[in-house]
């Protein structure tokens, strides 16, 4: 049985904060299934309309470059195929995956969004559409345009959703006088808030993004050459949900993260290079929790940033020693 899950996960033009890759999942008969495409290459269409100062041809080129960036990840095995220009629109339930501009002035903080049609029995994504809000000014200039948002960067983010990735929390923000948040830095294309006009940093995938796509679509050798950090986060002995667990590899500088996702406070983070890591646990205390979890009320925000008290060794393949990080109440 198929159901349309219109999950609008976009990149906001204004901010929040967090850390990590997250896979979309669905519960089937008590089991958790990761949402993913099961047939490749994944065919996509470009809507044949201009928007935001970008022509249809420029739009198509930016989309193609963004798909190619995901496809080039050596540890992942996801492939795409441009199926042509179309007069169809994103979010039509038409059986084809369409990317295109749409004007949504009412979404004054949303640059773009992605929706899915999934098979709720198998977890297979069967259609996914992306719209880019043509209310905003866009650019496809090679060096970016300081007055416009970089289309390729936002496309890379939305295509991450298109293939089944949720938002990453690896980023820091600060409050602005108007109550919004301003991004200070991020280490994931899948961070939910765009870096700003003229910034093209998000044309390049970060280790957290690469771990996410590789965990979802593993290439041969990925599982055997990288390790998984596993454990739980507890407060007063009880597991907590929604704790953001960040691993840092001092040898590579890579930041890869995940969340505790059940009542036992358990987490698993794949794609770690073998070797020593620092583990840092933080609450999503100033993030838009709704952009990460469907049940934000379950997320525990009442604890302090805590480092695991040992260096964690990611194994060369497989799951490392399980650790417990005991956090203190805020």
């Amino acid at each position: 049985m198929r159901l349309l899950l219109c999950i609008v996960l976009g990149v906001a033009s204004l901010s929040q904060n967090a850390h990590a890759y997250l896979q979309f999942t669905t519960a089937v008969g008590g089991e958790t299934r990761v949402l993913k495409w099961q047939r490749t290459p994944i065919r996509w269409f470009a809507a044949d309309r201009a928007g935001g100062g970008v022509s249809a041809a420029e739009f198509q080129g930016a989309m193609a470059r963004a798909f190619a960036t995901w496809e080039a990840v050596p540890t992942a095995s996801v492939t795409f195929q441009f199926a042509g220009a179309t007069g169809a629109q994103p979010f039509d339930d038409d059986g084809i995956s369409v990317l295109g501009f749409q004007a949504h002035p009412e979404m004054d903080r949303v640059l773009g969004a992605t929706g899915f049609l999934v098979d709720t029995v198998t977890g297979e994504i069967v259609e996914s559409d992306i719209f880019f809000n043509s209310t905003f000014p866009w650019s496809t200039a090679a060096q970016g345009d300081p007055n416009r948002f970089d289309l390729e960067s936002v496309a890379l983010h939305e295509i991450g959703h298109f293939i089944g990735l949720g938002h990453s929390g690896i980023g820091e923000t600060e409050m602005r006088p108007d109550g919004g948040r301003q991004v200070l830095g991020s280490a994931a294309v899948m961070f939910p808030i765009a870096l700003g006009r003229g910034i093209t940093h998000d044309r390049v995938l970060e280790p957290d993004d690469i771990a996410g796509v590789s965990d979802t679509y593993p290439a041969a050798g990925f599982r055997s050459s990288t390790g998984v950090a596993a454990g739980r986060v507890s407060r007063n002995g009880r597991g907590i949900i929604g704790a953001h667990v960040v691993t840092f590899n001092p040898a590579t500088g890579a930041l890869i993260a995940g969340f505790t996702l059940n009542n036992d406070g358990e987490f698993q983070i794949a794609g770690l290079q073998p070797g020593a890591h620092v583990i840092r646990v933080e609450p999503l205390d100033d993030a838009d929790v709704e952009s990460f979890f469907s049940r934000p009320s379950a997320v525990d925000l009442g604890f302090l940033v805590t480092f695991y008290d040992r260096l964690y060794v990611a194994p060369n393949g497989g799951v490392g020693d399980r650790v417990t990080v005991a956090v203190r109440p805020r």
Partner: protein, 226 residues
């Protein structure tokens, strides 16, 4: 780091001792030794966990800082040497130690208190050395200083011994050998003790920065000459 023990091939002297001191190291003499020592700590590197800045011009945004180093550790070694001439010898050996890798974390952006975290490393080095006996500086008839230098392979295993890191070790230093027993005949032609002090440069292995890491090391050994 590993240190490879350098055992000079000192050679046994013969009788009468006073007349034979300059011949203490006859060629084609094999020597084996074993002992223990201490290798000093060294910095592995200071690395910040950084986010990309939100603007083109800003430097990266620091999430927290790490400063990592190996602590000092006891070493144990075995070495075999071969005298090429009375002045020169070559040696090869294995040194084992279990230093602690410590990372000090500070300057967390959300004010987490500073903390030092650690793991125990199993460290092995296999190396070869050239030893030069400085016979001109011999003290009496049984004690001779030497200098040595060498290079080898460094193998480090993280906790649980599931992850191996490979590197190289280079060292230079010197020491002194003292013969306690010198015999003209028999399987064992001599025995004595030896002290070494070396500077080691480790490259590769567990390293968070590219430059070689200097470690000071001292050791003492007992040797037998055949």
């Amino acid at each position: 780091m590993t240190r490879v023990v350098v055992f000079a091939l000192a050679l046994t002297a013969v009788y009468p001792a006073s007349a034979q001191t300059r011949n203490l190291a006859p060629p084609e003499r094999i020597e084996v030794s074993g002992g223990a020592g201490w290798i000093g700590g060294a910095s592995v590197g200071a690395v910040d966990a950084e986010l990309r800045a939100a603007t083109v011009s800003q430097s990266p945004f620091r999430l927290f800082s790490t400063d990592s180093r190996f602590g000092g550790a006891a070493t144990f070694h075995v070495t075999a040497g071969f005298a090429l001439t009375r002045r020169f010898a070559v040696e090869g050996g294995v040194t084992v130690s279990h230093p602690e890798l410590r990372a000090s974390i500070s300057e967390d952006v959300e004010s987490a208190p500073p903390i030092t975290i650690a793991e125990r490393i199993d460290q092995y080095s296999i190396d070869a050395n050239l030893v030069v006996m400085i016979r001109e500086l011999a003290i009496g008839q049984q004690t001779v200083p030497f200098v040595s230098a060498g290079a080898g392979y460094l193998r480090q295993l993280h906790a649980g011994q599931t992850v191996v890191e490979h590197g190289h070790v280079f060292h230079a230093g010197g020491g002194i050998k003292h013969w306690l027993l010198i015999r003209r005949q028999g399987l064992i032609r001599g025995a004595g003790v030896r002290a070494d002090a070396h500077l080691y440069l480790m490259s590769g292995g567990i390293a968070f920065e590219d430059h070689p890491r200097p470690h000071g090391a001292v050791s003492g050994s007992v040797f037998l000459a055949f």
